[in-house]
């Protein structure tokens, strides 16, 4: 039984309106990796505060005048994503613990690949100053050069590399 997803163009229209709402109210677009970065900063800052304040990258975000790194627009937005995703999954009857993978690979392999992909995406999102939502989608909507470059770079590379990992998917 095929899951019933929203028509993709309609879902895109809805997502675009959410983006526009963010611009109109907060003067900024969507994002995801920025919120996860703040979770990492807060975690490192709690476990090893000295290490965090000595880190060239993290120290930009911590300090007596900076407040809690988690007290940020993107963190609240990502909490909303969890709620919104859960609500949609609940309404559509898609709430289920599972490892989604092609029959050609095991669950274990899928989880390892997901972990490796996440590590790469996490690294790249910091180097590229944002991910698909913050840099590519929002960047393109405000017509920034970086938005178009990041979008082309992500999707272009993924197309080229798709052949190498095809056995994981098809």
């Amino acid at each position: 039984m095929k899951s019933h997803y929203m028509n993709p163009y309609l879902a895109g229209l809805f997502l675009g309106l959410v983006l526009l709402f963010a611009f109109f109210f907060s003067g900024r677009g969507l994002g995801a990796s920025g919120a996860l970065k703040r979770v990492v900063i807060e975690t490192v800052g709690t476990i090893a505060p000295e290490h965090a304040s000595n880190s060239v990258y993290f120290s930009k975000y911590i300090g007596p005048d900076k407040g809690n790194p988690l007290n940020h627009w993107l963190v609240y937005e990502m909490l909303g994503v969890v709620v919104g995703g859960f609500l949609s999954g609940a309404l559509a009857g898609r709430l289920k613990w599972k490892v989604e993978h092609s029959p050609g690979i095991t669950s274990k392999k899928r989880l390892i690949m997901a972990l490796i992909g996440g590590i790469l995406f996490g690294y790249g999102s910091q180097l590229g100053r944002g991910c698909t939502s913050g840099a590519a989608l929002t960047g393109m909507a405000v017509l920034s050069v970086s938005g178009f470059v990041t979008m082309a770079s992500i999707f272009g590379t993924a197309f080229l590399f798709a052949y190498v990992v095809r056995k994981n998917w098809i």
Partner: protein, 200 residues
């Protein structure tokens, strides 16, 4: 008039509440589109499902066209809307690494959180990977700092580079998107994989 918070028409205290509401809409849209499924997401790279292309470009078009019209009607002051700065080389290299991560892991950050929210353990694993990747980046930052800062063009817009108006650029992107939508629809027929699309 807008943006409302930066102009203090709505108090700063409301900004995080707005962020939360925006996030609910964002997560709901992603999940409804099927972005909680890695096998649907990577379909674009093998042609059997091009939902990523359709949703991503429809949303970007609504965003850019909406901003332009809001600005035309004086509903929003575009000078107060954040424009991502362009650091050319880090955007390219970062994008390359993210592209490999996308097709290896089957998600991007927003979609992995959305997938984890409905119980996908591969989504949760991807989120864990992102944390590790961000940590590694921070630790290796001194090594890549020169790349990170290279090619700084500031808050540059593509319309400025091309020497055309913002409206004409949006028109060109709409044309490009329509062509890509047509290719996407054709690809789904040409590379149809009933066995996969039935399951996802």
């Amino acid at each position: 008039m807008g943006p409302l918070v930066p102009q203090e028409i709505i108090g700063e205290g409301w900004n995080f509440f707005i962020a939360f509401i925006v996030g609910i809409g964002f997560g709901f849209a992603l999940e409804q589109a099927g972005f909680s499924s890695s096998r649907k997401l990577v379909g674009i790279f093998y042609g059997y499902d091009t939902v990523v292309l359709k949703v991503f470009f429809s949303a970007a078009l609504v965003g850019m066209l909406g901003l332009l019209m809001f600005s035309l009607f004086d509903w929003i002051d575009l000078n107060l809307v954040w424009v991502n700065p362009t650091f050319l080389w880090s955007a390219i290299v970062g994008g390359v690494i993210m592209g490999v991560g996308f097709v290896v892991g089957g998600f991007c950050p927003g979609t992995s959180v959305c997938a984890a929210a409905i119980g996908k353990l591969d989504g949760l694993m991807f989120v864990g990977g992102i944390f590790i990747g961000i940590f590694i980046f921070a630790e290796s930052f001194p090594l890549v700092k020169s790349l990170y800062m290279a090619g700084n063009f500031g808050h540059l817009k593509l319309s400025t580079v091309l020497g055309i108006s913002q409206g004409f650029l949006v028109f060109l992107v709409i044309c490009a998107a329509l062509i890509m939508f047509w290719i996407g629809e054709a690809a789904e027929k040409r590379f149809a994989r009933e066995d996969i699309t039935r399951e996802v």
